[in-house]
């Protein structure tokens, strides 16, 4: 075993434990920046989409993975972000203001939802949030004068200080812009995790009773986690609006909410990396399927629903064999190599753990 001696308190406040992961992530960042010079515009678009999903995934991860609450209606907050972003721009606000404001409004919507539902747990919380997701779709239709109803909204192309980030005109620019936003959100997320707020999230996730005995105000903490989660998700919704150019009441539907949840479970609950791995799967699975279909089946028969079917199959495998998600699997592979001759089979033996709803209060 490697014993890490503490020479300063910053040792575990820093973003990275030591130089090795820091260098790897730096390499990853440089690769990401260089991506537009390596791949063509189609794939660059796919990577942009992946980043947008990853932002939405981080929003939900904060709620589900780090503060232990469920939401099956998170697409509703993407919708709040998408609509408020475009509506604010129609009032003449520049993107640079409308995007953070869209996040703010989505966060506000999160607070409104959180206040009455923070007393609910587990399955009840899930049902309440499904209801919100369904309600949001209807609200968009009802509020047609602002939202455009069933005919939807058209997102103008982004302009910042005269530079145009058009979806088709400046693919690399849009990618870099969204990469930058993603990095900022990752930094904010990491900061939350290493400060008292992140620890209070973790506390209410693992034991509400002792969180209270440590002085954590449960209702307040749950509301804050909802607000931050919805704000991040709202930002991803706003970006999704610009990416897909047109969106309607059906764009951010309940299936998107479920995909978001599956995404973070498959990626690995409780890890920021999990949101990215899940996003990569959601984004690239359809392409992988269509490519392998072309390669293996000459008659190019289209099997309806194969994507969600495969997605479901992956999910079942992950839950059965790797409850910590794909990122958890990677951690095990990594420590296998780090400790090579001393690896024990039962090192990651599963401890019986309970969902909060299963536990007696």
């Amino acid at each position: 075993m490697r014993i890490i001696f503490k020479t300063s308190y910053d040792a575990d406040i820093r973003y990275f434990r030591n130089r090795v992961p820091a260098l790897w992530y730096l390499a990853l960042l440089l690769m990401s920046i260089a991506l537009p010079f390596i791949i063509n515009e189609f794939w660059l678009g796919e990577f942009t989409l992946m980043l947008i999903w990853a932002i939405a995934g981080m929003g939900l991860m904060l709620l589900v993975g780090h503060s232990g609450q469920a939401s099956l209606g998170h697409a509703a907050f993407m919708a709040v972000g998408a609509y408020s972003n475009v509506i604010l721009q129609e009032y003449g606000l520049p993107f640079i203001l409308s995007l953070p404001l869209a996040g703010f409004f989505a966060g506000l919507a999160g607070v409104l939802v959180a206040m009455p539902t923070t007393k609910l747990h587990g399955i009840y919380m899930a049902i309440a949030t499904i209801a919100i997701g369904v309600l949001a779709e209807d609200l968009i239709v009802i509020l047609a004068p602002w939202t455009g109803g069933v005919s939807g909204k058209f997102a103008p192309s982004i302009e910042i200080f005269g530079i145009n980030f058009d979806r088709y005109g400046n693919v690399s620019g849009l990618y870099w812009l969204i990469l930058g936003i993603t990095c900022l959100i990752v930094l904010g997320y990491k900061n939350i995790l290493r400060s008292p707020l992140g620890r209070s999230f973790m506390a209410i996730r693992d034991s509400e009773i002792s969180a209270q005995a440590m002085g954590v105000n449960i209702a307040r903490t749950r509301t804050i986690s909802f607000a931050l989660s919805c704000a991040i998700t709202g930002i991803s919704g706003a970006l999704m609006g610009h990416f897909s150019l047109v969106f309607t009441n059906e764009t951010f539907n309940i299936v998107i909410s479920i995909y978001l949840l599956l995404m973070i479970v498959i990626g690995g609950l409780g890890f920021i990396q999990g949101a990215f791995i899940g996003a990569a799967i959601v984004t690239f699975l359809p392409s992988v399927i269509s490519f392998s279909r072309d390669a293996f089946f000459s008659n190019s028969a289209i099997i309806p629903g194969i994507e969600s079917g495969l997605f479901g199959a992956i999910l079942i495998f992950v839950i059965l064999f790797e409850p910590m998600g794909l990122y958890g699997r990677w951690l095990k592979i990594r420590s296998y190599f780090e400790l090579f001759p001393f690896y024990r089979r039962d090192m990651f033996r599963r401890q019986k753990s309970y969902l909060k709803t299963e536990r007696m209060r």
Partner: protein, 259 residues
């Protein structure tokens, strides 16, 4: 001076009177123990002080002020820390993070400052870590600092619970069966720690414990409870030889607890 006063406190669960007209005071600087057979109502008294349960009658005062209007999460901010009989740690987090949650009381930054991790937040984190390192040194938890709770053995978890309560920096520490399930050597450690908590740290201790050896060696005063009623309050030897106490234990299947 009395740190904690219970005045004619009664609590019922349906028809069961779990705590029946109980009054006692804990003085500043003492170790006060609650003993009694299973189901006597000891943990229920702790849960009332933590404001998880509302007493039906009576009042609970801390430093002369009633705490019955406070919410559970305000209690540690007053300076009351506790441990749980059935360990309630944050399982999916490291020992260090668990102890740092105890520092919630000393949080002086808001959400926005923390998202930006301003220098002020970093400085505050250093202070928290300094305080927590003292606790880690005191309880010899160095080897476990970065270990996740879910992988730790029972005995260590008990110590971490105590550490988390100490990290609050309390005036009054409530320990619910700190030695249950521990070996003789581990119990000996707990006895030394309680002595130091009282003498060196100047923290008043209210303890529930079945191990009479531990109770006798650390307590200044002992309260014996059975079926929610006070049998007697006195020095450890007075309580142990009190006829009602002996009768209460013979009535239960725990008579050997007193030997």
């Amino acid at each position: 001076m009395n740190l904690l006063d219970l005045q004619n406190v009664t609590l019922r669960f349906g028809g069961l009177v779990a705590v029946d007209n109980v009054s006692f005071s804990v003085k500043q600087g003492e170790v006060f123990s609650l003993v009694g057979p299973n189901g006597a109502g000891k943990s229920t008294i702790f849960n009332m002080i933590s404001r998880f349960y509302d007493p039906a009658e009576g009042d609970i005062l801390f430093q002369g002020q009633s705490i019955l209007k406070k919410a559970s999460h305000d209690i540690p901010h007053l300076g009351i820390a506790r441990t749980f009989q059935n360990i309630e740690l944050f399982e999916q987090a490291s020992v260090l993070q668990n102890l740092l949650v105890g520092r919630q009381r000393h949080r002086r930054s808001n959400v926005l400052e923390e998202i930006l991790f301003l220098p002020k937040v970093r400085k505050q984190e250093h202070h928290h870590r300094l305080a927590v390192e003292h606790v880690i040194d005191f309880l010899d938890l160095q080897p476990y600092r970065d270990k996740f709770i879910s992988g730790l053995p029972y005995g260590i978890r008990k110590v971490v619970e105590m550490g988390r309560a100490l990290a609050i920096g309390p005036k009054l520490l409530l320990l619910d069966e700190p030695a249950s399930g521990l070996s003789t050597e581990e119990t000996q450690d707990v006895a030394f720690w309680i002595e130091d908590i009282k003498k060196v740290m100047g923290i008043t201790v209210l303890m529930v414990e079945h191990d009479m050896h531990l109770v006798n060696s650390v307590s200044d005063r002992v309260l014996a409870l059975a079926d929610g009623k006070i049998l007697t309050i006195g020095t450890p030897s007075e309580v142990q030889n009190h006829p009602d106490v002996i009768k209460a234990y013979i009535g239960s299947d725990e008579e050997d607890a007193l030997t």
